[in-house]
């Protein structure tokens, strides 16, 4: 492990937990899996092991979703995680890969410029010219390497990849082989190989998922957190972890501040106050849980470097406003209305109101 890395891979960051789980895991493991499906689910959802070791939850939400995801991987069907931005799709995919194959690095980031070579294999042209086509001149893609090693490959933002390029995955997923016509050869996947793809169903300008490909995926739809408490727990846990990683000297934010922040996000997202009495305008942004986490971290950084190390409302206010105001005019109206009709009226929210008001 290198000491100065900004962000560790999941399998390194949680190495200890994975080792403990493996020690306590006597259930059958699918070929090439590092843990049994049951232990993978425990790793994701958290729990106590028979020897008293506590596994922290990585994903807070419906248990059954995670179970379907793990069971899917166990049946060698590819897994598609679908959801609006900020619903922990990538996060969940990374941890699933880390727990099943102890390697979350086989990653393809989908963009509109992703080509078939990125999904299958490319060539080292210098070698190709000097030696002619051979396996040595071939540059394998992460998918190809995952096939050879019986590991999990991840494809991020599948729907950003052009549709005809997406279809290159079909053979891989149905035949579990990757033909190399240039060498009259092929790569056959080892047991344990699988693909986890993520896609978001909110952003426009995204390519359709072809139905042929869709049929080869089991779909798990990740929802936004159902309750306030659930979301508060997510924000609290993540901001603590990130704060520690960034070595922020600031004190951990109080539960009350987190609750307030999450309340603002939920109310604006739903277009309704939590007591369901007042209707609100909905801003154009997603206002996902992930954004709430980053607002909080931003605030913590401000407090640590420019303040006295204690998170104050004013540290959070600017991050909050920039999360809400994605479209200057329309969101401005929604935000102002929310401040005047809801925030101002709440007795213990006066400080938040003043801080936000100053920035307008």
């Amino acid at each position: 492990m290198k000491p100065n890395i900004l962000r560790e891979h999941a399998e390194n960051a949680f190495r200890h937990e994975l080792e403990e789980l493996s020690k306590n895991d006597d259930r059958p493991r699918p070929p090439n899996w590092k843990l049994s499906p049951w232990a993978v689910a425990t790793y994701i959802l958290g729990g106590d092991l028979p020897n008293g070791f506590h596994v922290t939850p990585k994903y807070i939400g419906k248990r059954s979703l995670v179970e379907v995801a793990v069971a899917t991987l166990a049946t060698d069907r590819a897994l598609l995680l679908l959801g609006v931005p900020g619903t922990a799709k990538t996060w969940l995919a990374e941890h699933l890969a880390a727990a099943t194959s102890a390697d979350s690095t086989l990653l393809i980031q989908g963009t509109s410029g992703t080509s078939e070579e990125t999904l299958r294999y490319g060539w080292n042209y210098a070698k190709l010219l000097s030696e002619g086509p051979s396996r040595a001149a071939l540059v394998p893609s992460p998918i190809m390497r995952a096939m050879e090693g019986g590991k999990i490959a991840r494809v991020e933002e599948l729907t950003r990849i052009p549709s005809d390029v997406q279809d290159a995955l079909i053979t891989v997923l149905s035949e579990k082989t990757l033909p190399i016509p240039e060498l009259n050869d092929e790569v056959q996947a080892e047991k344990g190989f699988n693909v986890i793809a993520t896609a978001n169903d909110r952003d426009r300008g995204v390519n359709e998922l072809s139905s042929a490909l869709r049929r080869r995926f089991n779909t798990v739809h990740l929802p936004l957190p159902e309750t306030l408490d659930e979301e508060v727990a997510i924000v609290q846990q993540r901001s603590e972890q990130i704060g520690r990683a960034l070595e922020l000297p600031a004190e951990a934010p109080s539960l009350k501040d987190i609750q307030r922040l999450v309340t603002v996000f939920r109310e604006l997202r739903d277009g309704m106050t939590l007591d369901r009495k007042t209707k609100l305008k909905v801003p154009s942004g997603t206002l996902s849980t992930a954004e709430a986490i980053s607002v909080l971290n931003n605030g913590l950084a401000m407090a640590a470097h420019f303040g006295d190390g204690r998170l104050r409302v004013s540290d959070m206010a600017s991050g909050l406003a920039s999360a809400v105001l994605k479209d200057a005019t329309q969101d401005g109206i929604a935000w102002k209305e929310y401040l005047e009709t809801v925030v101002k009226e709440r007795d213990d929210w006066k400080d938040l109101y003043r801080a936000c008001r100053q920035l307008l």
């Binding site: 069971a71 899917t72 069907r77 779909t219």
Partner: protein, 745 residues
């Protein structure tokens, strides 16, 4: 309490009331032990119905129904499905020469008690959670209903329940939501104690009779209370002072949908369709069959569902079950797998989920079932008219010119008179309206109770409806009420009810002075007179009454239009419109003239709300009695000095309500309104803007666009002439010819 065990002669079989696994295990156990007498948890009166339940023509789901003869609302349902352990036990007993008796509180006591609160055990829920299940239902399903091996199952249930009951129960008694009636109130805990005391009494009786092998079939919960008997005297003390009520008993069709409600012993079933599959199929086949039925439903809806996907779904369900350490997938695993592989769309899922989980089955009962006379009369008519009792909502289209359809319509109307809402009529518009009726018909089991209630009026549908109508006629005090009743009686063709209702109509119409009441009584009566011949009813008797009411209305209306506030004025305006519509329907010159006079009187009435005045003028215009010039003139008068802007706006609202074409084609009126609007001060404009906007908002979009064009001066009242430059138009002709493939000129 000192108790003695029941001994070897009695064996207790604890079941779940609609559990397929319970049923399977129970039959295997009975076959194994060959009891000579079956004691079943069920009201004593149910014993008499057992032969009916065994009838070959009976198709579950059905419910045995006990009701208080004098108060049919007090009723108790005992639902039975094909996979009910009780029904299977009855069948087994009949085949094997085993006697059957009921042991629960008799209906005569059951129906006289009003139970407050409910009783449940938190222990069960905690145990289910500890075992890794989401709720008791799912836990029980896996422990018992999906089990194939009945060996020692009942012993296990026995010890499980004993353990749970030792830990105590929680009663919820704080909410008393039971209906107020003269029944004796009793807490849930006391009620349970009484029932169990009665069951023990029954066990003591059969023991005393000397039977050697007695099988007791009861809800698993009761097993601990029945396996040891206190002294007879102790139970007698609990059972002292039970009410005694006269009870009627019958069997009625039930539906899967109803089964999902708690009824009878408070034991509903969440997923009857899935349970049916568990009963019918081998357990290993259940996941495949269920997921195949998902695929079939999807294909019916023209959605993709390939066999390959079904195979994958089965695999995922198996993997999920394995992960959760269950022997085979349950409903939860199947649903999750289906939603991951076959159905991605929330909307599609919500469409088919109910059919997959609850199902749409409706039971049938044999003709030999003793029914209250009214029910059997209805059954006979349904058979004759070929109208099936069906629990799905269907649209029935009737052409009243046909004998059969006319009778169907009459039957539905008669039932509606009796508050048995089997069919809900839907308005039919257009030309067909005069001789077509559309009904939404859906049979719901609780309609049986409404019928039994209606039984106090008579023994056939016709006589009951007749008597019911006559009774309501006698009680009626409002003219509109009796007018509606007359209409109902005539379209339901209740010959004997016509005299009393029409007599009452005449009596009330002579004395009623309430204008609103008079006006509201017109539509139903007018409908009777207008459509009388199609329905072959005696409309001519109503016509003179209608004339009289109309005349009185014309006389009474103008004075009633004085001193109205805004709301009352709106009502009055609507009323004028409604009556006007009826006058058009009459097509009678004399009445039309009479109505014109009335409207003219209202229009120029001092102290009348301007909304009403405007409306009256507009209605006159619609009749062709006045022209656009007149309207413009009147608007000028109403907007001149003395009238506030608000009042003028009200007048305009009354005037313009309805199609906006009037404004387009009446140039003087358009100009008058335009002038008035333009002449308003800024302050007044702000004041009337909402009113005027409301008025204009009711026009259709094209109308508003045209009005807008008129205002902008683009559209003139005269036809616009399009100028065409022929020289330039000619130039495109060769190309058009080429496109159309025509020869050149």
């Amino acid at each position: 309490m000192s108790t003695t065990p029941v001994g070897d002669r009695v064996r207790l079989f604890g079941i779940r009331h609609h559990g397929p696994g319970s049923a399977r295990s129970l039959i295997a156990a009975l076959q194994d032990w060959q009891p000579e007498l079956l004691l079943v948890e069920g009201p004593v009166e149910l014993g008499g119905l057992v032969p009916l339940l065994l009838d070959e023509a009976l198709r579950p789901p059905v419910a045995a129904l006990l009701y208080a003869v004098d108060k049919p609302r007090w009723a108790f349902y005992y639902p039975l499905v094909e996979f009910s352990p009780e029904l299977q036990a009855f069948r087994w007993a009949a085949k094997n020469g085993c006697g059957v008796r009921m042991m629960d509180l008799p209906g005569s006591a059951l129906l006289g008690l009003s139970v407050v609160g409910s009783q449940r055990s938190e222990v069960m829920a905690q145990l289910a959670e500890a075992a890794g299940f989401y709720d008791i239902e799912e836990w029980w399903e896996h422990l018992v209903e999906q089990r194939q091996d009945p060996h020692e199952l009942f012993e296990a249930i026995d010890s499980l329940m004993c353990g749970i009951r030792e830990l105590g129960t929680d009663s919820e008694e704080d909410v008393d939501d039971s209906p107020e009636d003269e029944r004796k109130k009793i807490s849930a805990a006391d009620f349970e104690a009484m029932r169990e005391a009665h069951m023990r009494r029954a066990i003591r009786e059969v023991l005393a009779e000397g039977h050697q092998r007695i099988a007791v079939v009861c809800g698993a919960w009761h097993v601990p209370a029945l396996k040891a008997l206190p002294t007879a005297r102790q139970d007698d003390a609990i059972l002292k002072g039970l009410p005694k009520i006269k009870v009627g008993a019958t069997v009625v069709p039930w539906s899967f949908d109803r089964l999902t409600f708690d009824s009878g012993y408070g034991a509903g079933a969440r997923s009857p369709a899935f349970y049916e599959l568990l009963w019918k199929s081998k357990p290993a086949d259940v996941p495949t069959q269920w997921l195949l039925s998902v695929a079939h439903l999807l294909r019916e809806a023209d959605l993709d569902a390939s066999p390959a996907s079904v195979i994958e779904a089965v695999r995922l369900a198996d993997a999920l079950a394995a992960m959760r350490e269950r022997p085979r997938p349950g409903l939860r695993e199947l649903c999750e797998s289906a939603r991951s592989i076959l159905i991605w769309d929330e909307a599609v899922w919500s469409l088919i989920a109910r059919r997959l989980i609850v199902g749409e089955r409706m039971g049938e009962v044999p003709e030999t079932v003793p029914m209250v006379p009214l029910l059997s009369d209805l059954a006979a008519q349904q058979k004759r008219l070929r109208m099936k009792q069906d629990d799905t909502d269907r649209l029935l289209q009737l052409d009243l010119r046909g004998e059969m359809d006319l009778e169907r319509s009459q039957l539905l109307h008669r039932l509606n008179l009796l508050n048995v809402a089997w069919g809900v009529p839907e308005e039919v518009t257009g030309k067909k309206g005069t001789f077509h009726e559309h009904w939404h018909i859906q049979w719901r089991p609780e309609l049986s109770i409404s019928l039994i209630e209606a039984g106090i009026y008579g023994n056939t549908v016709v006589s009951a409806a007749t008597n019911c109508a006559a009774e309501r006629a006698g009680k009626a005090v409002q003219l509109a009420e009796i007018a509606t009743l007359v209409q109902q009686v005539l379209i339901a063709d209740l010959a004997d009810a016509i005299d009393p209702t029409v007599a009452k109509l005449q009596a009330l119409s002579a004395t009623s002075a309430d204008i609103a009441d008079l006006a509201e009584s017109l539509p139903p009566l007018a409908a009777v007179v207008r459509y009388g011949t199609v329905r072959r009813t005696e409309a001519e008797r109503v016509a003179p009454v209608l004339d009289a009411i109309f005349t009185r209305l014309c006389v009474g209306l103008p004075p009633a239009c004085v001193s109205l506030d805004d709301d009352a004025a709106q009502d009055m305006s609507d009323r004028l419109t409604a009556v006007s519509g009826i006058v058009t329907l009459f097509d009678n010159e004399e009445q039309s003239a009479q109505w014109q006079d009335t409207l003219a009187a209202i229009a120029s009435l001092e102290g009348c709300h301007r909304l009403v005045k405007g409306r009256a003028e507009r209605l006159r215009f619609d009749f062709g009695a006045v022209d656009g010039e007149h309207l413009a003139l009147r608007l000028g008068q109403e907007s001149s000095a003395g009238a506030t802007a608000q009042e003028t706006a009200a007048f305009i609202e009354g005037l313009l309500e309805g199609p906006g074409v009037v404004l387009l084609h009446q140039e003087p009126l358009f100009r008058a309104i335009n002038d008035w609007l333009v002449g308003l001060t800024a302050e007044h404009f702000d004041e009337v803007l909402p009113l005027v906007r409301r008025t204009f908002a009711l026009f259709t979009k094209p109308e508003r666009r045209q009005i807008g064009e008129l205002v902008a001066g683009k559209g003139e009242h005269s036809e616009r002439v399009m100028e065409i430059n022929e020289e330039r138009a000619r130039r495109v002709l060769p190309f058009v010819r080429q496109i159309l493939g025509l020869p050149n000129e």
